[in-house]
Structures are given as structure tokens and as C-alpha cells.
């Protein structure tokens, strides 16, 4: 029986507000709480449930990043993943490079399914899963809110702008998760201790033989244009008057 491969990214915690560095060279992330990208945590949970249902034998976690990202791999192992791989690379990689690295790993590991988050909440690209599917020549089912596997086929319900769409894809396939796919489990202390002894392999990006040449140059980070707070009104009558004054009711 095959494994499920889950790609995760270490990001600034979803609840922490990040600000631009005064010199515009990047975001001030030093000392901030770091976590598994929330969509990737949902991906881990989805993979664990598929393993528990007997559809797959094992859950393999993968991250492409620096040594610190092993903290997030350990958290994923504590959730219940069986083993982890860290591809040693700088933290800021373009999605195409990440997709190429995941593709190389997919060729080595031959997973029956790859589950990724639909987007990372730092760069907000939302590209890696689709790119991996293209490079691998396999199906993609993005923005998944329901996922079921029967034999060699996955049935995936996707959240699209106008509602819900259901696709059937042959495995192996790439699925990216939306928020409502599941509620990730909490990690218990004994699991954290057990996770310390689970296998975690490290290999250099160069060993995968992928083209890691950047195609974009980020010149500058700027704070977004601020919206200025407007007027406070005292009651509904004043509210309606303010809306009429702005001409938004006609």
C-alpha cells in the first residue's frame, strides 16, 4: 500500500500581525511565533484520516526550508505522521522551485496522493500544488472541502466562487486543502515525546537536481496604503444621513 505525502511550510503564526521592516527589505519576523501554515495543518489532518481509514499505509511529511523548519516537522510527526523529510534550502523560495523539489521527491517516494495547503499565509501565492501536478503530469483538485478515496480514485469537492464542484481524479493526484476540509487534531504531550524519535531525513536541495534559479526579484516591501478611519455616528438616523451624504444609497 502506498503513502500519502504532505508538504508543509513554516510561517509566522496566523494570529500574529507582521509588519514591514523600516528599510523595506522584508517583513520583521524576528522573534515572532512560527507555526505550520494553517492550510498545511489541515493537509496533515486529511492525510492522517486517510491512513486511519486504511486507504494508505503511511503519512510522509516534507518541507523545503532551513533547519528551524524541523520544529514544524516534529509537530506534524506528533500529530501522527510516520516520518519526515527536510530538503535543506533557504526559507524564501519561489513556488516553482518548491514544486520542482516536491516533484523530485514524488518520483523517489512514489506516493499515492500528495496533499498540500491551498496557499501559504505569508507569500499568499497559492501556486505550488497546481505546479506540482503539472510537472508530475497528474490530476489536481484544489481548494478541497471534502476528500474521499476509494481504490485508485479520489473524489474531491472543491470550494469555487459560485459554490461547490465535485471532481473524480485518478491516483496519484495532488489535492490542496481549503479551511473547511477538517479541524486539525490537538497534539498530546506523549505524542510530542514520541515524535522526537520518529525518522527525520535531511537532504540538500542540490541532491534533487532541480533548477532553483529565481525568476523574480522582489525589489521592495511597503506597508499597504492605510484607510483612514471615518466618522462615528450616534444612531441609525445619523447613519442613514451619512450614507445619503455619501451618495451610496442612490
Amino acid at each position: 500500500m502506498q503513502s500519502v505525502m504532505v508538504g508543509i511550510k513554516r510561517v509566522v503564526d496566523y494570529n500574529v500581525r507582521v509588519r514591514v521592516k523600516p528599510d523595506g527589505s522584508g517583513m520583521a519576523t524576528e522573534g515572532l511565533k512560527m507555526s505550520i501554515n494553517p492550510f498545511d495543518e489541515i493537509a496533515i489532518e486529511a492525510a492522517l484520516r486517510l491512513k486511519e481509514s486504511g486507504a494508505f499505509a503511511q503519512v510522509v511529511l516534507v518541507t523545503i526550508g532551513p533547519a528551524e523548519a524541523e520544529q514544524q516537522l516534529r509537530t506534524g510527526l506528533a500529530m501522527g505522521a510516520d516520518r519526515a523529510i527536510r530538503v535543506d534550502a533557504p526559507a524564501r523560495l519561489e513556488p516553482l522551485t518548491v514544486a520542482r523539489a516536491l516533484h523530485a521527491l514524488a518520483e523517489r517516494e512514489q506516493p499515492g496522493l500528495v496533499v498540500l495547503g491551498k496557499q501559504a499565509v505569508d507569500d499568499d501565492h497559492g501556486q505550488t500544488g497546481q505546479m506540482l501536478a503539472a510537472l508530475w503530469g497528474r490530476p489536481q483538485a484544489t481548494f478541497a472541502s471534502e476528500l474521499a478515496v476509494a481504490g485508485n480514485v479520489a473524489t474531491v469537492t472543491r470550494e469555487i466562487d459560485s459554490g461547490l464542484e465535485t471532481l473524480e481524479v485518478d491516483l496519484p493526484a495532488v489535492v490542496t486543502t481549503d479551511l473547511r476540509l477538517n479541524q486539525p487534531r490537538y497534539v498530546k504531550l506523549p505524542e510530542i515525546l514520541k515524535a522526537k524519535t520518529k525518522p527525520l531525513a535531511v537532504l540538500p536541495l542540490a541532491e534533487l537536481g532541480v533548477d532553483a534559479q529565481p525568476q523574480f526579484t522582489v525589489r521592495e516591501f511597503a506597508p499597504p496604503p492605510a484607510r483612514v478611519a471615518g466618522v462615528r455616528v450616534q444612531d441609525v438616523a445619523e447613519l442613514v444621513a451619512a450614507l445619503n451624504a455619501r451618495g451610496v444609497l442612490s
Binding site: Q130, D161, V169, A237
Partner: protein, 318 residues
């Protein structure tokens, strides 16, 4: 020489407003050619609508049965083939475009820019990161084709112009059979579409229940507005998932946005900051939503909203 290919979003009969917005963005590239690709089954009406968008110099129509439903796995190899000779490929940052364009880019061996909100030059763009907490200026490699999605809230659609020529294309591209469409459930109903509505009324956790949310829906109907919701309201199960406004939901730019019982987490604010007028009704005077609201009312929504509905009914809003 800049030649831009814009991927049309449509439902088989009508061109989505997203396409006119992508054309508006494409015009900022000052292209010599601006061609809209319509992949459809049938699609003559859609192609005719695309041909009349101001600034469009041509339409390529690929009419094939396999294009009856928009599957990224099927559309991407066709678009990668159509992209030959173009310097830029643009599509909307809707779920359609976000699903499709990265697959097209990877087939072309190039990266992709997501959510372009400003064009500064043929290969220099601005896009938001970190839930809109920052805007980055990015240079793309002019030696490669640039594939990008367009942040729809940042662009008004172009109007109509003289009809551009429509070219029918047949493509000799191998298409995969590994992805099959099963069904689609549209949850729209009678209200305007959230992505393109002039007015939007959203509710948050403070509504307390699906029953409470009906109050927000009633206000939306009085205003002829689309209905939206914060993630907190969705997580509480008050409404359907496709109503989510924010970083990981829909990013919108209506003329009027009314936030009812929404505290205003940064992830929500990033979805509404391009609204022309933001109105907030919340009983917590410290709620962050008031920092961005043009008109704020600190009040119990269960009292204020029924009053507002009566006042708007009395006035006869159009």
C-alpha cells in the same frame, strides 16, 4: 513588443466580469496585441462578448466538447499551446484563474505572479503578501513569458469598443483523461454575485446563529446587496462557505460594504480594503473594524439593524 493573452472566464454563455478587469490590467502593459482566449464548447456568444471589450485586438476561440466544463488539467495544456508568441498570459484571481494559471505556468517552465494589483512596467508589478500587511514590488525576467493572475478588486472592467476579429482555432494537444467532472452545486440564489456586487452586506460571529444571520440577509435584500460573512461566522456554521470575505476567501471592492457584528480581523480587512465606503455596526467600540470604517455605529446590532431596515424601506433605496 508586448503581446498579451488574457484567459476568458465564462459559463459557456456569458463572459464573466472578471475578464473585462483582466483586460483593463493588460492595457496598463501598453500591448501591441491584446488577445482573449475563449475555451468553450460552443462559445460563439462568449467570443463575441470578448471581442467587444475595449482595447481587445483579437479573440481566439477553441470550440471543443472537452471544454464544456473548465477543468484546469484539460485547459492548461491548450493555453500553454496558445501562449506561443505572447509575452504575457493573464487570468483572473478567481478560483477559476487561481486553479488554472499556475498549471499553465509550470507547463511553460516559468513561475507565476499571483494577485497583480498594479502594473509599473512591462515586467514590474505590485502584489500583496501577508494578508495585505505588505505590498511588494516585483521584477519579472523579461526573457521569459510572464504568467500572472489579476487581483480583481484592484481593477474596474473596460467598457465596450469596436468588435475585434474572432479567430477559430483547433489545437493538436494531448489531453489527460485522469480528471473527471462529476457535479457542480451553485449556491447563488436570487442575490447579486458577491465578487461583483455594487453593495455587500456581511455578518460576523455576533449574529449568534443561522437564525440571527437572517437579519443580515434581510438588510442585504433591502439594499439589493450581495451577502457575505466573516470566517468566524462560517466557522460557527451560520452560512455557506462560499460567502467568506477575506484573505483566504473572496477579495472584493464594492461601492458600499456594510459589516454587521464583524470585529475586523486583519484577514477579513484585507478582503474589503478596496471598498469605496465601509460601514461598521458593532457593539464593541474598540473593534478593529472601526479603524477602517468610513461610517461607524457603536450599537447593539439586534436593535440597530431592524431600525436601519425600516429607515431604508421608508426611504425607498434603489
Amino acid at each position: 513588443m508586448t503581446r498579451v493573452l488574457v484567459v476568458a472566464e465564462h459559463d459557456g454563455a456569458r463572459l464573466a466580469p472578471a475578464t473585462a478587469k483582466c483586460v483593463r490590467c493588460a492595457l496598463d502593459l501598453q500591448p501591441e496585441a491584446l488577445v482573449v482566449a475563449v475555451l468553450a464548447h460552443g462559445g460563439a456568444d462568449v467570443a463575441a462578448q470578448a471581442a467587444r471589450l475595449a482595447g481587445v485586438t483579437g479573440v481566439m476561440l477553441v470550440d471543443a466538447e472537452h471544454n464544456a466544463v473548465p477543468l484546469a488539467a484539460t485547459l492548461a495544456p491548450q493555453l500553454a499551446s496558445l501562449a506561443a508568441g505572447f509575452t504575457h498570459v493573464l487570468g483572473p484571481s478567481s478560483t477559476f484563474g487561481k486553479d488554472l494559471l499556475p498549471r499553465v505556468a509550470a507547463l511553460l517552465g516559468v513561475g507565476q505572479l499571483s494577485d497583480v494589483l498594479a502594473v509599473l512596467g512591462s515586467h514590474r508589478f505590485r502584489r500583496p503578501v501577508h494578508a495585505g500587511n505588505a505590498v511588494v514590488t516585483v521584477d519579472a525576467d523579461p526573457q521569459r513569458v510572464l504568467v500572472a493572475t489579476v487581483r480583481l478588486a484592484s481593477y474596474a472592467g473596460v467598457g465596450e469598443g469596436p468588435a475585434a476579429p474572432i479567430e477559430r482555432r483547433t489545437l493538436d494537444v494531448a489531453l489527460p483523461a485522469h480528471t473527471r467532472f462529476v457535479s457542480r452545486r451553485e449556491s447563488g440564489g436570487a442575490r447579486p454575485d458577491l465578487m461583483t456586487a455594487r453593495r455587500v452586506v456581511s455578518g460576523g460571529r455576533a449574529l449568534g446563529s443561522a437564525e440571527g444571520f437572517k437579519l443580515v440577509a434581510e438588510l442585504a435584500d433591502v439594499l439589493g446587496a450581495a451577502l457575505g460573512a466573516s470566517r468566524a461566522a462560517l466557522d460557527s456554521g451560520f452560512v455557506a462557505n462560499d460567502l467568506q470575505v477575506g484573505q483566504t476567501g473572496k477579495i472584493i471592492a464594492p461601492e458600499l460594504y456594510v459589516a454587521v457584528g464583524i470585529s475586523g480581523a486583519i484577514q477579513h480587512l484585507t478582503g474589503i480594503k478596496d471598498a469605496r465606503t465601509i460601514v461598521a455596526i458593532n457593539k464593541d467600540p474598540e473593534a478593529p473594524i472601526f479603524e477602517v470604517a468610513d461610517v461607524g455605529l457603536v450599537a447593539d446590532l439586534f436593535k440597530a439593524v431592524p431600525e436601519l431596515i425600516s429607515a431604508l424601506r421608508a426611504q425607498g433605496v434603489r
